[in-house]
């Protein structure tokens, strides 16, 4: 184990946690506010990545510029999906919701496969893609740093929205008490609609950034769904504020193992899920 790599591992972990938090916070919104177990969440992420790719290939848009187009596009997609299907299963058993959203995921993924094929797609030739700088032996890439900052700003924006705007207060009211919120005159259905659209939007923006960081294929969605679920569950259902800590924990652990353990890169997933498993089991046993 080479401890001189420790600072680098910590920095990489912290930078990666932003994107994890962004994707998870959208899912937490869907689960916490609407109560929908959305297994298609990662597909919004994938769609965001491929829209950015298409804008880049078709119009030469810089991904930063694409963010501005992908956001409304994903909000509309999310809203349409809510209106056409999710709305009808709000009271259905959890399993029915899971099957429905699996179905939506399959549709989105295979539409993407039909359009873009199964090969990984890279948004190449972005001027800042290979940019980076060194701070005391730790190299920081412009892209990971940028995605971290953007993610953090978005997550902070969401927190602020939930805490201080009428819409955010409505969402929290609905999350805490569906019937009560209906009684005080909130239009619950509209709050759900906005929350779901927002959830898709946040995931889509995360997708744009992953499109620059990695070379995604249309099948990346489910993997991100599962990771986002794991983070949401780690934070505790309904605990949107806990997402940042949970995302940081798993991202740091992943990065530490990948960097410090020989041949550790292959262990990333194992560490991620081992933490989730141990924490869930441990937590369940602590409660009397």
């Amino acid at each position: 184990m080479d401890l001189s790599l420790l600072p680098q591992a910590i920095v990489s972990g912290v930078l990666a946690s932003g994107l994890y938090a962004l994707v998870s916070v959208g899912l937490a919104l869907a689960i916490g506010v609407i109560g929908i177990v959305n297994f298609a969440h990662g597909e919004f992420f994938m769609v965001g990545a491929f829209l950015a790719y298409q804008l880049f290939v078709g119009f030469g848009f810089d991904p930063l510029l694409s963010l501005l187009f992908v956001a409304p596009a994903l909000a509309v997609i999310g809203a349409l999906i809510y209106l056409s299907s999710i709305r009808f299963v709000l009271r259905a058993p959890e399993l029915n919701q899971m099957l429905l959203t699996f179905g939506i995921g399959i549709i989105l993924q295979n539409l993407a496969l039909l359009i873009w094929g199964g090969d990984p797609r890279t948004i190449a030739n972005v001027p800042y893609r290979s940019l980076g700088f060194q701070v005391g032996g730790v190299s920081i890439g412009a892209v990971p740093l940028g995605s971290f900052v953007i993610s953090l700003v978005l997550v902070a924006g969401l927190y602020w929205m939930l805490a201080s705007t009428p819409l955010g207060r409505a969402m929290r009211a609905v999350a805490q008490n569906r019937i009560g919120a209906g009684l005080v005159g909130l239009e619950v259905d509209r709050v759900y609609l906005v929350a779901f659209a927002l959830s898709a939007l946040l995931a889509g923006l995360g997708g744009v950034m992953i499109g620059v960081i990695q070379s995604p294929t249309p099948t990346v969605g489910l993997g991100f769904t599962l990771k986002a679920f794991a983070i949401v569950v780690l934070a505790g259902l309904g605990n949107i504020r806990g997402i940042l800590g949970a995302a940081l924990t798993v991202a740091l652990a992943e990065s530490l193992v990948a960097t410090l353990v020989p041949n550790g890169d292959a262990l990333r997933n194992m560490v991620f899920f081992a933490i989730i498993f141990v924490v869930l089991v441990w937590r369940s046993r602590r409660v009397a």
Partner: protein, 292 residues
Amino acid sequence: MSTVLRATGLSKSFGGLVAVKDVSFEAAPGEIFAIIGPNGAGKTTLLNLVSGLLTPTSGRLELLGTDITAMPTYRRCRLGLGRAFQVVQPFPEMTVAENVLVGAQFGSEGVSSVEARRRADRALERTGLDRLRDQPVEDLNLLQEKRLEIARALATQPKVLLLDEVMAGLRPGEARQAVELVRGVRDEGITVVFIEHVMPVVRDLADRVLVMDHGSELARGTYAEVTSDPRVVEAYLGVEDDGSRDGAERAGVTSADVSSTEVPSAEVPSAEVPSVHDAPGGDTGDTPGKDA
């Protein structure tokens, strides 16, 4: 054996919050033992400790001479502890008879399926549910649901039956039937421990009464004794907003007046009473959160 159920120094706290504090009581064979107290006094928590849904922080529980303090719920049940819940919780997706059959099949060790069916039939008969046996439980009204709660508990062949506010929400005539049912159960030699807010029911049924307030025992004795205890009158009966009747007056209500207590005022939650049930660690009620 003079004691069927014995609780010694039972306490339960959730974090820093003490829901039940050093409560002791015992119930004799064939006794009807009432637990009363204002909302949030810790009555349901106490019952949850007895039936095993919660583990006491300290104290000891004995059922028929066996230490059951750390015993899981299903073994307490098989030992002879039956429980009917305040918030009725029938198993959905099953008929009335199937619900009762669960208790009959699993409530004692080594019951043959023929014997289980016989026990279930008898419990249905006792509670007047035999007519409804093939109804899905979704179709039952509140009274029928309460009967089902009792039927399921009876089908486990209990020696001690715990009843949590089975009269709440019942119409006067219905409450009278329920009182008769409980008497009948006791006449078979089953010990009944029940939580109740409807005071005339307590008066009519209880051999002895335990009054709880803020998690601890406030008084214990016969109905007449506890209702004339000034501390009880002040802490429990006195807090009612409905100033029209005081405790002594209510104590004087005759059994025929069960019919006049459709909405007993003590049942109305009072904002001034600190509610243990609403506090953090709020799994003090009947259904501790499943997603723990």
